[in-house]
């Protein structure tokens, strides 16, 4: 049972624990969720979104803006 003797050595356990620590947290995992884009890509998407929004120009008027402003004032009053 020489192999079990080796496995029981503390330095072996420390080595395995250190190895686990390094392989479980590499740079790919850390940056996986962070989506990024270039300025050109941003512009293309921005124009797509603003063009869609521009089509809805008739669905908003000054009456809605006034209501939104009143809503903002009421919210600010509640915060004071």
């Amino acid at each position: 049972m020489n192999i079990l003797k080796t496995l029981r050595k503390p330095y072996f356990a420390v080595f395995l624990a250190s190895l686990m620590l390094f392989v479980s947290c590499n740079q790919d995992n850390l940056s996986e969720d962070l989506e990024i884009q270039t300025l050109d890509e941003y512009f293309a998407k921005h124009i797509e979104l603003t063009s869609k929004m521009a089509e809805l120009k008739d669905s908003v008027d000054y009456d809605i803006i006034d209501k939104l402003k009143n809503c903002k004032i009421n919210q600010m009053k509640l915060q004071i």
């Binding site: 300025l39 921005h46 869609k52 929004m53 908003v60």
Partner: protein, 143 residues
């Protein structure tokens, strides 16, 4: 700290309580504009910039892209080409205003203030577009 979806549902509730009917599409598109801005800000090239610096980069890019587009599109002088040019100016202004709303929404939070900004920009675009259409009608009547 509230997350973005909590903020959005709180905002929807406030609007409902005040009987404000904003199209879901406008709501959704404004959120997408802010999300698009956030993805650009994640780029290490820009994420050390403050709000003003970041907005300045975006405004510069929008102006440059529209200027280049106008430079390369050769138009014969006509009522329609004048209208297209005027409408493009309206779109440029709207794109810059929407970008400003996106940057402010990113650095602060999406709330009534952002919706007011977006709504004002949209109403102004509508007025600008109507004015361009009026000029087109006048131009055609005078031909």
């Amino acid at each position: 700290m509230q997350n973005k979806s909590d903020e959005t549902s709180d905002l929807e509730l406030s609007l409902k309580n005040e009987n404000i009917e904003i199209s879901d599409k406008i709501f959704e598109l404004q959120l997408k504009i802010i999300e698009n801005t956030r993805i650009l800000y994640n780029n290490p090239k820009y994420n050390s910039l403050n709000q003003e610096e970041f907005l300045s980069v975006i405004k510069g890019e929008i102006s440059n892209q529209f200027e280049n587009k106008q430079k390369f599109s050769q138009r014969a002088a006509s009522c329609l080409s004048d209208f297209n040019s005027a409408n493009e100016d309206c779109l440029t202004d709207f794109a810059v205003s929407a970008a400003t709303v996106g940057v402010i929404g990113l650095f602060t939070s999406f709330g009534v203030g952002s919706l007011i900004g977006g709504a004002i920009a949209l109403v102004r675009f509508g007025e600008c577009n109507k004015s361009a259409q009026g000029d087109l009608a006048d131009c055609r009547a005078n031909q």
